[in-house]
Symmetry: D2
């Protein structure tokens, strides 16, 4: 076991630097000890923190490297190691890889600032000067800094004041490993059930259009969904796809418009209205399969909230929006996991009703929808930018096994 | 076998109406006979077409219903059938479902225009007047039009002249049944191979970030991909993920950033540069798995085109963009199917080089990217708005079987 | 005045080719005469059309060039002109610019197919063979085809049958000249008013967030908007921004969150509820400025449709969605232009109620929203992919002058 | 002047709570004094902070209200004020507006937990129990909590460990007041120039397509842009639009495709190649207006980086991507503000070369592009999700005055 002491200075509390540093240490599974913290009493005083970290030396080295991205340095900076490049365009192994922060290198016992900070470069020392160098420009004999000894970075200053625009960050992105995410959502659902919590699914019409409704039905039948919120569109297309094989008139088995299919959703709504309720239509054998039938047969409660764009609507739809929201509130106690599935309107409406402690996953192909939910105050939500149909297919296999 | 004669009138050629009507008939699998076409000689003369369709009566009825959306009517309009509603809020079965086009109904031998055209409504006749009625407002005893007898619609006029903005249509949409689309792409790839054509894959870095690179590798190993185009990013992250387990520093097995991982891609590029080429790095055992190694081992040619944002780059990357495009052109002859996988830049570049006869599928989670390819002239491309990682997972199962 | 005869052959009706050709001719302002049309009687017979076009020779040349993109050729193809390149990498002026269609060139009285079709290239003839050549590869002395004489293209065959995916096209794109589009929308609004039609504005909350609400107010005051549809969100944020200077708690004058601002919308709703209606709150002086106050003072009717995500809601909101839709229907007769301003839900709901003859503009920064409206059947809508705040600012200047 | 002491407890450092609280205080312009901080030495110990804030009592009240969103409470919680509702559906003025955090209310000297936490509600006390109540359900006589006295919230626990998905936040959103943002960008540009810094514009082709190129030209002529980076597309379309009036063949003055326009960009590239350089083409009078001509005439340096999708390219384009990046690096020293204008590829490439201290604004209509820049490490970038054409129009007016 080795240990290192790192130091952070500046407006490290209100600029979030200290928090990010501690966060990075914890994520790395490394033990830390805050050995010295002086927090400025007022917002004009700088603060300083010294943190001791302990662990395997190789892990500590990687961590220290990572912490430099946030402006933290080793207290004892060590000495600079220079290695001459042996091939043009190729760096020595273990080269120091730059950040875009202001950086100093210890050259002949003096801290020399890097002249042209640029990320993802190497540092080359020539005649006591230090410059960044992109890999392809390295020449044989160039003196390259190796390791992080003798290198320190300066914490970035946070800009204050004018910020109608915001600092960008990429927390909601489509570029994530998706198979892994499906496994993690499945794990949370299992954990919620083991702890006695309920799982709520909030479904938009795109669940049906992208072919995901049979998966929702299977999740209901296998007991993974305990309550379902949706609108007239989801319920209608789910029933339409099972009674007539189409969704908004498009044949789900072939992906092409059915002749005369444009009025299919109206005909289905009309027949369910004739039966008086979805449950009655299921009992009469008019609706046999699909998510809504699965709810009826398995006693899974559902709330269909009305909207001004509804055709019909189905007899179970709450046309009074205040009553719809109140009906949803009845089912909120006990919910531990909420899945928002491709439903902007319902996701925001339901998000408004959920306590912060409910683990919420918002799945949508459109990043803007995922962002909008957080804009409306549901900061606890996790965004998953993906296509809801394939997502539900994989989630169902993860929870129910291959069909 | 029954037959019907339908009629279409107006600017039916240059407004695309005749084409859409014939297209709809063909898609429905119905045989037609153009029995009378008078096309106006100049662009101010209207045209008329009479089309005889033949088939099963129920199918013809559905087709005629569909054709009304385009403004086509039965020549013999038949007589209007009125049925009184028996329940409030419920329409008689077989009710005529409206379009938003101007519509007439034959009432007492006179064509009476519908007063308030609105789509997805019923038609109610009262005191010789005809109005649309949404389902929820129907009352017991209302005289509702059933079937399409006695109903005719007017073809919409196409607006001309000022159109910096364009008519909207929804040909590229994320709301499609995705499992079906995967099967169809798999079928096209199989058909291309059976006919002796080559399959080209164009891969962007998001293929790796979303977990799709092992699928690309498997498709290559099983012989489904014959040539691969990509950039420095895809190849680097593919190798990084196999050598170090990360993609842009994110652990693919856990989805979380690796400590020190931010420089992983640079270190991998540096080592491959040291080996001199990807093939040499594979031969030396530095790269064992992944899409690039699969190309090397299976003799599948690849072209890596450079871009100004490249780090490194890898030694195989063409840094001269004109040479890169020329290198890609060498592999175009014989390509029958091109898969553009989450790659804006390369998709457009490759699209520019492909003959119109190459069947092209452009897969991206971002609808704007898919649209941009067509903007650049590749009108033959099919857009698939979905998440590339899960798409590749399903495509691989469809072609290679369960892993 | 010159004239030319062009010919088109193949499945030119149901593949839309004839329509596109006529469309292109009309758009170019050229007079045409369909001198010979043979339309196959059944869907297996090919069709042929010969079209005479008349106009200025230079314009005809440009038009013929354009028509080749659709597979139309001159009946008399003329003779091939070859010009030797005089500079490496530079083509002779007037060079023939290729499409990606299969193409033949008349060489020594024989039609020679181009060996490697690729768009945006030149054609070079060598030893009786014809190849495409990208500009940068041309060498001094290369024999380059100049003009379209002696060149013919083959109409693309339309693929049929399997099309869960669709051909891409770019009709809805953000890459359009926006200042021009604003002028055209302003022209349509003026034309509608001159013809006695009404202008309907449908407003989403983003109109307020992006700073566009004062523009809507000014358009109302100057008489350009005759009826307004919105939801609880738009009306609340409009009032909040005028009473408290915030929108969802963000200070509109500074773009930063106000302290305690997160409950501002609730406090405003509560006070308007205390007054009993928006009109009463305006009469009492609680609400002075903004779009809703402008409606009240200028007698412009408005309908606020409720949704399940509403806080409050404001007393004027129809919480019953069926009643909301019916209330909107009351105002539809007479509407000639509808502006859908950043409102997914209301745009689709209102689109459902409008006859096809209403000129509809759907403005949203998100291309998927614009597409969705067409998916729901409102094919007459024009999509404008832009930021609604700046759009309204420019539209207001175009209609009301500088403020 | 009043003062208050607030308290925060839990994992307040590594969960970012302390930082957010201090940040909120500073943003509010309030003076604070950290009177007592105990930070747990290891990552399993909780921390506590007491903060004294001083200012106007009304401001302090608003601030305390805001701080409760982060889980901070007054040390002396005060006493609960209950006011009976006087109207059904209307709350007493000053009602306590809830968060979705776990919350306690002091009732008869005991802390009673709120039974059903939900945001944007009131708190009602009945028989010693406390519940949230949406506004529309309040009845006459309900005892409603007014003010924040006697209310405390619990800091949310940060979830740890599994996070391939990330917490959502909305820092990059299109829903921002845009006119204000334009002013702020203009202010930053002015400030940079006053301090002797350079302004760099990075332009994508959409700048031309959306009508923004004349604005870029004017900004160059008036001295607001000191260096320009772009690709072959931007330069070509800028020249095409000035020489031929089209952009990718679309007439910019009318927004409709020009006949024969599809090859315009090739013809323009060909002629500039004939001249040998853009500067030569300007000198010869072939190119008179536009951004590139403005650069030449005003001595503003530009770098055109090549890409594999380039037609031609123009003679000034660096076809070697490594040389292109190196050429850009030459101009980086001294840059204080960078404007990334609708250019994914170039924005990321340039972002890679800029030190963290360069103020970077990334303008794009597509939120995913803005996010992608941060994904690649340019955390200093501010995202502005808007339409680049109108944005440039307004920025030019802000800096250069009305044209």
């Amino acid at each position: 076991m080795a240990n290192e002491t790192i130091e952070l200075t500046g407006h490290i509390v209100d600029s979030l630097l200290l928090a990010k540093v501690l966060d990075t240490i914890v994520e790395a599974g490394i033990t830390y000890d805050l050995i010295d913290v002086e927090i400025g009493r007022t917002n004009t005083d700088p603060s300083t923190a010294r943190i001791e970290i302990e662990g395997d030396q190789a892990e500590l080295d990687r961590l220290v490297d990572e912490l430099q991205l946030h402006g933290a340095n080793r207290v004892s900076s060590g000495t600079t190691t220079l290695v001459a490049a042996e091939m043009a365009g190729v760096l020595p192994a273990g080269f120091y890889s730059t950040t875009n922060l202001a950086t100093d290198v210890l050259v002949a016992d003096e801290w020399v600032p890097v002249e042209n900070p640029e990320m993802d470069c190497a540092l080359v020392v020539t005649d006591g000067r230090v410059r960044t160098l992109p890999m392809h420009r390295v020449l044989v004999g160039d003196q390259i800094v190796v390791g992080s000894g003798g290198v320190r970075v300066h914490a970035p200053a946070k800009r204050r004041g004018a910020s109608a625009f915001e600092f960008m960050n990429s927390e909601v992105s489509s570029e994530k490993p998706k198979a892994l995410i499906v496994q993690q959502v499945a794990d949370r659902i299992r954990a919620a059930h083991e702890a006695g919590g309920k799982v709520l699914a909030v479904c938009g019409p795109a669940v049906v259009h992208t072919g995901g409704a049979p998966d929702v039905a299977r999740l209901i039948e296998d007991g993974w969904i305990d309550v379902l919120f949706a609108g007239n569109g989801f319920a209608t297309h789910d029933i339409e796809s099972n009674v007539l094989g189409t969704s908004l008139g498009v044949l789900l088995a072939e992906g092409t418009p059915a002749e005369g299919g444009h009025s299919n959703h109206l005909r289905v709504i009309n027949e369910v209205r004739r039966h008086g309720s979805i449950a009655a239509a299921v009992a009469a054998g008019y609706v046999v399969d699909g998510a809504m039938a699965a709810c009826v047969r398995n006693g899974v409660p559902f709330v269909l909230g009305g909207s001004i764009r509804d055709d019909g609507p189905l007899p179970d739809v709450y046309v009074n929006t205040a009553e719809a929201a109140d009906a949803m509130r009845e089912h909120v106690p006990g919910v531990a996991v909420a899945l928002m599935l491709a439903s902007t309107l319902h996701a925001i409406a339901v998000g408004n009703c959920l306590p912060a402690g409910v683990e919420t996953f918002c799945v949508d192909i459109n990043q803007a929808v995922v962002t909008k939910l957080a804009d409306r105050g549901s900061h606890q939500a996790h965004g998953i930018v993906t296509d809801v149909g394939p997502f539900l297919g994989q989630l169902t296999i993860a929870l129910c096994g291959e069909a």
